[in-house]
Symmetry: C2
Subunit: 153 residues, 2 copies
DNA sequence: TTGACTTTGTAGCCGATGCTACACTTTGCC
DNA sequence: GGCAAAGTGTAGCATCGGCTACAAAGTCAA
């Protein structure tokens, strides 16, 4: 087994360690992802409709109300939202803060993709996933790229 | 409920439909993600060590061997790999094809981030997540950006 | 006020992806 | 050939995030 057929075992072991860290990082991002999108959606609903209700969130996320109810329960455990039976959903200060950061990051990623020539609807779709995997350094690179406008098309 | 406090209900309903589609798209991407990274890792192991074993995959993905075994069982159900007890893991033609496409996309995303000035290790980490959320149009934009070299430091 | 409609909650199912603990097979070396 | 170590498999647990079906609560208009 592992006959290391002619190639450097050392090099591939090192590469594996790097890979493992990257994959662990992706798993961590996924663990936060839903929370980020929910608080962002809640903040937008409060801004546009005055309050965030379970049905509206279900509509926004494209899931059933049951899924929303359980997710909101988790977010409440994590002190990001406040929710009482049959009432609207509110954001805690921590939730507010996360919502603001998430919205700004979302808008940055969308704007960057648009600046690369990606169409609005596709930029929106791709950004919804990409946003959760961008380190501060990558976000900075996106912002810099847009500032130093090389006006693409 | 939904008192639509002064804002356009029509506009926010339309925005919600768009949002829902984007979130659905992200969920779909996540459903394929692990398969893509596994076949990519398997192909790399075969190239570098001659064969892909459960332990090597566990090392590469940063999970326990138990998780690898169950995931490989799923990939076999999906006809992407061939696996027999206590033997090395092989790719089916479909698995090979997916591995090649995944590797090329992975390399494109890493190269693009590098071209934006992101450091090698961070580009590798971010790309591991970003790669699964890039539409063909976005990938094309990345490739175009690198071709029309505006040599960013 | 009351009854229909809307909204929210609950029960219980599923699959995916992590884990530990333990059992079994294979491999390699003496 | 036999034994220890390494590799692989299995049992069983947990969490998360989907779902349907049904129950309960709230809202609104006649
Ligand atoms: Mn998102
Ligand atoms: Mn993702
Ligand atoms: Mn990946
Ligand atoms: Mn990858």
């Amino acid at each position: 087994m592992s006959k290391s057929s002619g190639f450097s075992s050392v090099a591939s072991r090192a590469a594996q360690a790097t890979d493992a860290a990257a994959h662990a990082s992706v798993r961590a991002a996924h663990a936060n992802e839903l929370a980020e999108d929910y608080v962002e959606a809640i903040a937008m609903l409060i801004a546009s409709r005055g309050e965030a209700r379970v049905v509206d969130l279900a509509q926004a996320m494209g899931v059933t109300h049951v899924t929303v109810v359980r997710t909101i329960a988790r977010l409440q455990r994590e002190k990001l939202v406040i929710s009482q039976p049959y009432r609207a959903i509110f954001l805690t200060p921590a939730g507010q803060s996360l919502a603001t950061r998430s919205r700004e990051r979302h808008e940055l990623v969308v704007a960057f993709l648009r600046s690369m020539g990606v169409s609005a609807s596709i930029a929106e779709r791709d950004a919804e996933g990409i946003e959760h995997h961008c380190s501060p350094q990558t976000l900075a690179a996106f912002a810099r790229s847009m500032r130093t406008r090389q006006t693409r098309k």
